[in-house]
């Protein structure tokens, strides 16, 4: 599997990008950070749109940049696809000619993704003869994504492709992105400042802060790292990878299986058994008991081990649990943590009040 090795040092006035990363050669890697964290700059360095004076970049075993040898492959020679934040279609070309622009510039032997496949994946077949100014914002962005895919790139770089769109357009495009993730083998680097998009799309997570890598690793683990910026505050949550294993129409419930056991979810009438899905569990919806509660209205109670704890200044504790290997965060009061005598290594029970299906 082709992996990506990237090291960059790029000084800016009042800011410096200093990263060293080893990224997987498959799946979606989210580059997450707040504005000014350097995530877009990092993506531009990988694309060669920005030339870091100190840089080393290797993609799938092929060298793209090595400043120590003075080697720098210009952007147009890098086998990548790039989706900009705003769609940036060529205004003087129709949708079809926008799509063909890149494709006809790569050797025929490298065309692994047919134009039809790209059209299909993004659902834009009916827009081919339109000019870009006759498209909605969401349609434009879908064309831009298809245009990048039609290059059959070895890596797809996406710079906040949804950030310029309103909520409705976002909801329109996200399913297409999830399809890309499921149907294409190519690695995707996805810059975002939205935790929702990270949890919905990413397999691997890189958190950037002030130009440096604050955390990097598989999504479920990195998301629940106690010191990760994503684990701070009210939005702290965990991602569980699950599979539907049963329906109970009479109770309006659906059961899903994950590494830590079986969970009851609100009834998923239309989703067949066997479907894989991602669940988002907010840390505030998870509580902890020492004994398995005999009589409780909470359906989802599962055995768990405490793997870490952190306390904040506002009387709250963030507890990291492992449910059969699946990491899960729980927000409880510091008082409860003391009264229950919680310690890393303890066996407890996690009560999950709610889950969101993504």
């Amino acid at each position: 599997m082709a992996s990506i090795e990237a090291r960059f040092q790029l000084p800016f006035p009042g800011f410096a990008l200093e990263v060293g990363l080893q990224l997987p050669g498959a799946g979606v890697t989210a580059l997450f950070g707040h504005s000014g964290s350097g995530k877009t700059t990092l993506l531009r360095c990988i694309a060669g749109l920005e030339r870091a004076p100190q840089g080393y970049l290797q993609v799938g075993g092929v060298l793209w940049q090595d400043s120590s040898q003075g080697f720098f492959l210009p952007t147009h020679r890098r086998p990548l696809g790039y989706v900009f934040q705003e769609a940036s279609l060529f205004p003087h070309l129709s949708v079809r000619r926008n799509l063909e622009y890149g494709q006809k510039r790569i050797p025929a032997a490298d065309r692994r993704i047919a134009l039809e496949q790209a059209l299909d994946l993004l659902g834009i077949g009916h827009l081919l003869e339109r000019m870009p100014d006759r498209l909605s914002g969401g349609e434009r962005q879908r064309v831009a994504i298809a245009r990048a895919l039609a290059l059959s790139p070895q890596v797809l770089l996406m710079d906040e492709p949804l950030a310029a769109l309103d909520l409705q357009r976002k909801q329109e495009i996200l399913p297409f992105l999830i399809r890309l993730h499921n149907e294409l083998a190519m690695p995707i680097l996805y810059v975002t400042h939205s935790p929702e998009e990270v949890i919905q799309l990413a397999d691997h997570l890189v958190v950037l802060e002030a130009g440096k890598v604050a955390a990097s690793g598989p999504l479920a683990e990195t998301l629940t790292q106690l010191d990760s910026p994503l684990a701070q505050g009210e939005q702290a949550s965990s991602m569980l990878q699950a599979q539907i294993c049963g329906h109970e129409p009479e109770f309006h419930l659906t059961q899903v299986q994950f590494a830590g056991g079986v969970l009851n979810l609100p009834y998923q009438r239309t989703t067949p058994i066997g479907t894989r899905l991602r669940l988002r569990v907010y840390a505030r919806d998870v509580s902890i008991t020492l004994q398995p509660p005999a009589q409780t209205s909470i359906l989802n109670v599962l055995p768990a081990a405490i793997t870490g704890m952190a306390h904040d200044d506002e009387g709250r504790s963030l507890v990291r649990l492992s449910l059969g290997g699946a990491p899960l965060l729980a927000h409880i009061t510091q008082k409860s943590a003391v009264q229950l005598g919680l310690q890393p290594g303890m066996q407890v029970f996690a009560q999950i009040k709610a889950t969101a299906i993504l």
Binding site: L49, L80, L151
Partner: protein
């Protein structure tokens, strides 16, 4: 109506202006590109030099060109050494002088057009595997077409209307350097007001049509969005 000399002057003027416009587009495009994209700190000096003919009296420009290209000037020495003779009072000399004189009228609309395009379409083209020349031909020129149109029309019209530089560098040689404005001057000098009227009225109509064309063909050439 117009006599043969008048027609000769008109033909010569059109020939001069066409040639100068072609050269200006070829030379002015890289200069305008450089001015639009360079981050060199002394860029404004080059920009001022190119714009100089906008404010410099044509007679001053013509005088210096005459000195430079004359038998004792450095350009004149050079052209003599490669066997071209000296350039003042020749058609070639007039072409060179006109190119310099009309340069800002071509460079500025192009520079504005390039700046309006910005860097994003260039970056997009690069991520779609287009090299520089490819990008220039398939993205920049189509997007900057109104700028090229404005530049061409202004360069052509401005060359047709020049007088002071012609007087200094070109002189008044029939079929070589005697352009329309010189011919009008000749008619007035010799009291042939009717002839002067015909040519002047022609220029008036031409100038008006040019400006009308500029306003209708391009959205707003003076201040591009």
């Amino acid at each position: 109506m117009l006599n043969d000399e008048d027609l000769g002057a008109i033909l010569l003027t059109l020939k001069l202006a066409s040639l100068v416009t072609v050269i200006l587009l070829l030379v002015g495009t890289p200069i305008a590109w450089w001015l639009a994209h360079s981050r060199w700190r002394w860029k404004s000096i080059v920009s001022a030099l190119v714009s100089l003919p906008l404010v410099l009296p044509p007679a001053v420009l013509g005088f210096y060109l005459l000195v430079l290209m004359g038998p004792h000037g450095p350009v004149g020495q050079f052209t003599k050494s490669i066997g071209l003779g000296t350039l003042p009072f020749t058609f070639q000399g007039l072409v060179i002088a006109s190119v310099i004189y009309s340069m800002p009228f071509v460079v500025q609309p192009l520079q504005n057009a390039f700046e309006a395009i910005g860097t994003r379409p260039l970056e997009v083209a690069a991520t779609l595997r287009a090299g520089f020349l490819d990008t220039f031909l398939t993205v920049v020129i189509p997007l900057a077409r109104p700028g090229f149109l404005t530049a061409g029309i202004l360069g052509f019209a401005h060359t047709i209307g020049e007088f002071g530089v012609v007087l200094m560098v070109g002189g008044n040689i029939p079929d070589k350097t005697r352009v329309i404005s010189m011919q009008i001057f000749n008619h007035v000098e010799t009291g042939e007001y009717a002839q002067a009227h015909w040519l002047s009225a022609g220029m008036l109509v031409f100038s008006f049509v040019v400006l009308l064309a500029l306003n209708t063909l391009t959205p707003n050439p003076w201040r591009k969005r």
